[in-house]
């Protein structure tokens, strides 16, 4: 009786999964097929042809794209965490009228996408020589991820009891020292959320990288893939293999750390 009751929901859940995996199935069949093999994309090739992967890797310059992605993502994340966490501390602990206003300014930027200022931003980046420079795009990524970061850190620091601060102050710690020795070590859980949210955003970014990193040797994965696909639209095998390789790193990280991904998102958003 109970067994039967659980059978149908389980089956339904597997059908839902199947529907959601479908695009990835077609991606795999397409990526492993030889160019001459014109069978339907629904058909599994029955063999594994790696030529598409080798060609796409070489033609799309994915090696240098991966390096670019790593440099940009790691630098951005480190600086986002550093600048965001220190900024949140006074905003959470010294709630003067002025600081409340500053906090509102930071958080209001959450609603408006930075893409709306693309035209003036592009001109400004040309003026300051930040075009086709890693530091240029990294500064942009830091700025655009700060609202979410400051929002999360400020919320988290507010939940840390003030008694802790006072105890440390009595022990003679200065306010700065207090932050680095007492508060900072407590921020690990929220830092994990910030790293994941901003890491995914920066790693997958296309809309800014395509404008500010146009030089072939600086291109990130998404920009390299879009340039590659523009050239070889008809060669779907290459396109599929390129997409496959582009999606793999994030997917692996996600599968290993998925608890953090899913919980981080939920905790970050619900408090909003």
């Amino acid at each position: 009786m109970t067994k039967n009751k659980r059978f149908w929901p389980t089956l339904l859940s597997l059908v839902i999964c199947l529907l959601h995996i479908l695009p990835f199935y077609v991606l795999v069949t397409t990526a492993f097929k030889e160019v001459a093999d014109l069978s339907s994309k629904w058909m599994f090739p029955g063999y594994f042809y790696f030529g598409n992967f080798l060609d796409a890797w070489k033609e799309a310059h994915l090696a240098s794209a991966f390096r670019s992605n790593l440099i940009v993502t790691v630098c951005s994340i480190v600086l986002i965490v550093a600048i965001g966490s220190i900024a949140a501390y006074p905003l959470a602990r010294r709630q003067t009228g002025w600081n409340k206003f500053i906090y509102a300014v930071f958080v209001s930027a959450l609603i408006v996408p930075p893409l709306t200022i693309l035209v003036p931003l592009y001109k400004f980046m040309v003026d300051i020589g930040g075009m086709n420079q890693y530091w240029g795009i990294i500064l942009l990524f830091i700025t655009f991820n700060l609202p979410m970061t400051i929002f999360l850190y400020t919320g988290f620091i507010s939940t840390i009891p003030r008694d802790l601060d006072e105890a440390a102050m009595i022990d003679g710690a200065g306010r700065f020292q207090l932050f680095f020795t007492v508060i900072l070590p407590l921020l690990k859980p929220v830092t994990a959320t910030v790293v994941i949210l901003s890491g995914v955003a920066v790693w997958n970014d296309y809309q800014f990288s395509v404008f500010f990193l146009q030089k072939p040797e600086l291109r990130t994965i998404t920009v390299a893939l879009s340039a590659f696909f523009g050239q070889y639209t008809s060669n779907v095998g290459w396109v599929a293999a390129g997409s496959f390789m582009g999606a793999i790193p994030m997917t692996l990280v996600y599968l290993f750390l998925q608890r953090y991904f899913v919980n981080g998102l939920a905790s970050g958003a619900i408090k909003g």
């Binding site: 659980r6 389980t10 999964c17 959601h20 695009p23 990835f24 077609v26 991606l27 014109l38 339907s40 994309k41 629904w42 600048i83 220190i86 900024a87 006074p90 905003l91 602990r93 010294r94 300014v105 930071f106 609603i111 408006v112 996408p113 930075p114 893409l115 709306t116 200022i117 693309l118 035209v119 003036p120 931003l121 592009y122 001109k123 400004f124 500064l139 942009l140 700025t143 655009f144 306010r175 700065f176 995914v200 997958n204 296309y206 809309q207 998404t222 893939l225 879009s226 696909f229 779907v236 396109v239 599929a240 997409s243 999606a247 994030m250 997917t251 990280v253 996600y254 991904f261 619900i270």
Partner: protein, 313 residues
């Protein structure tokens, strides 16, 4: 409060020597505000300055390169509201925003309710459905391209199997807008689902038990317990997905590149084409301002409206 007072005292011109003023600043904790200066600086340089600059550019006929341009007042704005292409693009943008968030929320909620029934495979299903969220939407667009492409597309293969003509789905200026909405919905409905799941799991079981004892059926329990208690999740999910859909860019580039013509463009993708393709920077900046206004109005009103509903429910 005590801190504010010390600040006020400090502001009076009773500074004796620089050292003591400095020491006082440190003691009152005002120095702590230095910690947000780097963040504020970045904001001013990369958000506020460009924003005001953009307002200025929107009143000119700048081409994006030439230093020689004219102040043309509200011409760009007038042109925008008379431009049938832009009207269509605004319509598309609203479909991308409202359409995807409605679908994402309905499907996401259904999935969450289903998974909340202690399904054995819950963890696995959640992993699969959430997976596209962390993949680049450009790549997700390319993956779906294999389904909708004209020659050898997976959907056309099915049509051929049933003896139909293959359809040029992405070339159809009405269908492709909905295809893009569909792909965006598919990719991000995991966010709605996870938010609803978290909301559902925070509801104490006794509420349902008490209601069942009082004779409430599943529908009544949903309307009177579940729905009001997941209202915060609904607000967040609705607003997040609305903003995500209204600024849609990557998927459009991957699937149709805004075409045919500008038929499937969103405000962000047409802004890109106008600026880099047609060298119409003044006009593109005006569209940026329109997008800013549209997204702020939609997200702020929906946030306020939904928050108020939360309280009343």
């Amino acid at each position: 409060m005590a801190e504010t007072k010390t600040m006020a005292v400090q502001a009076k011109p009773q500074v004796r020597t620089p050292e003591t003023a400095w020491a006082r600043m440190i003691r009152s904790g005002a120095m702590l505000n230095l910690l947000y200066v780097p963040a504020l600086l970045l904001f001013c340089v990369f958000i506020f300055y460009p924003f005001f600059k953009g307002m200025k550019i929107s009143f000119t006929n700048w081409d994006g390169y030439n230093l020689d341009y004219k102040w043309i007042g509200f011409d760009n704005y007038k042109r925008m509201f008379q431009d049938p292409e832009i009207i269509k693009v605004i319509k598309n943008t609203v479909i991308y925003g409202v359409g995807s968030s409605v679908f994402q929320n309905i499907i996401g909620l259904l999935y969450a309710l289903f998974l909340n029934m202690n399904i054995r495979t819950r963890g696995f299903v959640r992993t699969i459905i959430y997976l596209p969220v962390i993949i680049s939407s450009l790549i997700m667009g390319y993956i779906w391209y294999f389904f909708f492409q004209y020659q050898g597309g997976a959907i056309n293969d099915i049509l051929l199997l049933f003896g139909d003509q293959p359809a040029n789905l992405l070339g159809d200026p009405v269908k492709n807008v909905w295809i893009i909405t569909f792909v965006n919905t598919y990719q991000y409905l995991g966010i709605a689902m996870v938010l609803y799941l978290a909301g559902l799991q925070s509801i104490p079981r006794d509420y349902y038990e008490a209601a069942t004892i009082d004779g409430a059926g599943p529908w009544k329990r949903f309307v009177h317990i579940t729905w009001p208690l997941i209202a915060p999740a609904f607000t967040v999910s609705m607003v997040l997905n609305l903003i995500g859909g209204l600024k849609l860019f990557d998927v459009i580039v991957a699937l149709t590149n805004s075409g045919p013509g500008y038929a499937s463009a969103s405000l962000s993708s047409i802004m890109y084409l106008l600026y880099f393709g047609r060298e119409d920077a003044g006009y593109a900046a005006t569209i940026g301002i329109l997008m800013f206004i549209l997204i702020s109005i939609v997200s702020i009103t929906s946030l306020v409206f939904l928050r108020r509903r939360e309280v009343n429910a």
